[in-house]
Amino acid sequence: MNHWIIAPVVLPAMLAPIIAFVMRHDIVLSRVFSIAGTLLLTCIAMGLVSIAADGTVHVYKLGDWPAPFGIVLVLDRLSAMLVLVTAVLGLIVAIHAAATGWDTRGRHFHALFQFQLMGICGAFLTGDAFNLFVFFEILLIASYGLMIHSGGKERLRAGLQYVVMNLAGSTLFLFALGTLYASTGTLNIADLAVKVREIPVEDAAMIRVAAMLLMIVFAIKAALFPVQFWLPATYANAPGPVAALFAIMTKVGAYAILRIHTMVFGPDVPALSGMPGDWLYPAAVVTIAIGAFGVLGSTKLLQLIAFSVVGSMGTLMIAISAFTPEALLAALYYLLHSTFAAAALFLMADLVVIRRGSEDLRMLHPAISQNGLLTALFFAGAIGMAGMPPLSGFLGKLLVLDALRDPQVIAVAWTAVLGGSLLTIVGFARAGSSLFWRPAAIAAMPAEAPEPQVVAPPATSAVFAPAIAALAMLVLLTIFAGRVSGYLESTVAELFDPTAYIEAVLGTGEEE
């Protein structure tokens, strides 16, 4: 057993209480430990990716109990990659929070932040459905704290709505797991993959209920229609760096659908006969439409970005709903892209809002300090999110479109993806011009300006570095698209042929 597999869970889990108990009055010390810890997490994640890249599935048995009885953590290409994405995003967000001083506006930012990373990494690594629930709860309870970080009326109200929504979702998750356990007698994902395939079509009712309940639960996390309505209010009211970190939270839902609904309830399972895809597809189409019209109708900057996240989740899900290897490759590439695109936009928007004092797009403000640099960043982020060349959004959407060539879906799917992209471009262009260009035009009218804007503290490069780093990830994804898609190709092959995973977990082959 390779003990590094549990490191992404243990490291933040140890760090968080130390930061909370020992360093709570020393913001510098907690910043140093939080950023250093996240850096270490990134190094560990890179190590895990190189371990997983050879294609063997590594299993970590907690307490050394054999697999269907004990809880296992499983490291394969998919989970290693997503842990790395989480760590890199966490590093970017932690530096942003420290550089902009968000972490001083409330208590315990870094402790909650580390707990959040622990939950996300755990959810990606676990090989047990009930353990997935537990890690979901860890990441959720940390996210409740981060969501209402630094308080404020609107933020608390949005936070309350977010908590209620997710508590209802957790209850549904438990009902789903109960149904699953009652019909299969196991909650280990590898064991489930075996047992579900043995269920005859006549007894499929229970397992279908469980599959669809689980899909609803993950759809809540992934903000899929009709359970997407919590996302715009939550993301638009969360503190900037937290909203950027939440970019990976929707992906946890997408990951869970990928993992559970390909390996356990895959299209080859006789009892389900491809039902998850049939339901996912229309939901994804409607989600794209909601995201696109939301972008067009938003009057606030953060709301606009939040709706563009909804739209990108729709694009991701429409690719997943096809459940073919090409489509899942496209979905995974788009998942990587949209995580960093959303994070870059939220970090950039945070800088704009701090300078501008208001995020309302309808009101004209005098030009903000460092207008040129922010304009360039917003332009690059919007290009990435809308899916225009040359950034990775274009490649991602191209892959998605290419994978959806099935004559049954091509008309609706292409219309949705292309139309959604067009509306997103229009929405971002309008927001960008009212944020950055019109202020320059009214600068000539001095009488209009009510009072001098609060002059933002002169931004150092540290303030801009995280947003630029997130954009740089998009550039890297574009440049190394060939290598990334090569890695993703073998990842998808693993998902569609879970024998290696099952053998490794259940120990039908030899272990250690």
């Binding site: 009930f130 537990v134 709860e137 309870i141 409740y144 209402i148 308080g151 404020g152 009326k153 608390l156 109200r157 949005a158 936070g159 309350l160 709505q161 908590v163 209620v164 508590l167 209802a168 957790s170 209850t171 438990l174 009902f175 797991l177 109960g178 149904t179 356990y181 009652a182 209010a233």
Partner: protein
């Protein structure tokens, strides 16, 4: 026995969902508690209902019937988590109530909330 357990779960769930739809902080908290009770009983029943049996498999004794221990462990985890979550929810809704002076949990505008207050 089955009918008692099944109808308990049903009634608790129905009550929970009804209270959840009231969209006011206190009923919603009660509704979520009822839902979590319902799911706890439900999880308990997923290991099949066996009465008067130990949760241990005994090879040699005369107790060849046993009750499934795994759902009991799951329920314990679920109880602890839902207990903690309810505490967090109570504090956040209290904070939200003190900040915004009303306890609606849908994100409607201020004036709209006031009109609704007057209507009720």
């Amino acid at each position: 026995m089955e009918i008692v357990v099944a109808s308990t779960i049903g009634i608790l769930t129905a009550g929970g969902v009804y209270l959840l739809l009231r969209l006011r902080a206190f009923p919603v908290i009660l509704g979520l508690s009822l839902l979590s009770y319902a799911v706890n009983v439900f999880l308990f029943a997923t290991g099949r209902i066996t009465i008067d049996a130990p949760p241990i498999l005994q090879d040699h004794g005369e107790h060849l019937t046993y009750t499934d221990p795994l759902p009991q462990a799951l329920v314990l985890t679920a109880i602890v988590i839902s207990f903690g979550m309810t505490a967090v929810l109570v504090l956040i809704s209290l904070g939200s109530f003190l900040e915004s002076a009303h306890d609606r949990i849908d994100m409607i505008g201020e004036d709209e909330a006031e009109t609704l207050e007057v209507d009720e």
